[in-house]
Amino acid sequence: MAVSRRANFVTGPRLLAPADLQVLGDGKVTFEEDVTCGQNVRIFADGREIRIGARAWLGDNAQIRASVGANSIVASDSVVVEDTPANFIVSGSPAKHIWDIC
């Protein structure tokens, strides 16, 4: 895992992420419990706080530039630029809501 020296990085229990996870920028990044990341996920926290909610699923090659709510799924290759509420599935670049997890 590569974490920018300027980033304030906090992880909850059981973060499951491969070694190529990158946390970039100077903002605070918080992973709540049981977050899982696919290959080549990048979190960009330039000048802002990003929170990844409990049990969130970040797909391969996802770029995260905003917070992701608990239980949400970010599809592979998506770029999240707006905060995603809990229990959403988002996909695309920029990532759009495609399904409610209920």
Partner: protein, 241 residues
Amino acid sequence: MLTSSAPIFHVTHWKAGSQWVHDVLNAAAPGRVVRPTGDVSFFAKHRVSDGEIYSPLYDAYDRFRAAVSADRPQRTFAVIRDARDTAVSWYFSLRYSHTTRDQAVKEPREVLSRLSKDDGLAMIIASHLRTAVWIQQTWLESGVKVFRYEDFRQRQYETFDELFDYCAIHLPERKRRRIIDKNSFERKTWWRFGFESWRSHLRKGQAGDWKNHFNERHKQLFKSHYGDILVRAGYETDNNW
């Protein structure tokens, strides 16, 4: 008093061989099997009658008990399946095999078509599986007779014999065998010819197929949502699978 004409209720969750068990019961007790429209709201319009077999009902124990009193003589059994295999089966059904005439299939299929297989399976674990696990959990705690789908697959004669005995469906041995053979899983699927069709509704039905599809992330997602359900259901001895 529990007589052989007491109504029989086959309760279950989705992807636990409900069509298969329904077909066997229908062949073993022709004319008696009633197919409810899904959950127990069916009984708001249909009076429970002696002799009838309601198969399958997809609902939780408390909701079932609110619709069918425990005081009434009855034979109720639940069929459950390993929730991991349930998730895999559900993914392939929604992605490929179920008809899209049903809106409940059409919309998730559209979503699944936009997701990778790994992301799609995560979606099923996080969403669809919730209700199935809840239903399963309520029946495990209910004290009602529980059959496991895997036993029907692995020991079909013994398990269906046990089911017939439990339901007081008395048939000669040869007839039982004939019914089970005629409705066997292998007869209803193509894969026995060495061809696994993802588009076949019944697909493989193989116990433990989840091992071919779950990665470490799916395992963690499952555990974080459902805790020790597999231990409680007898599929694992601990949570370190």
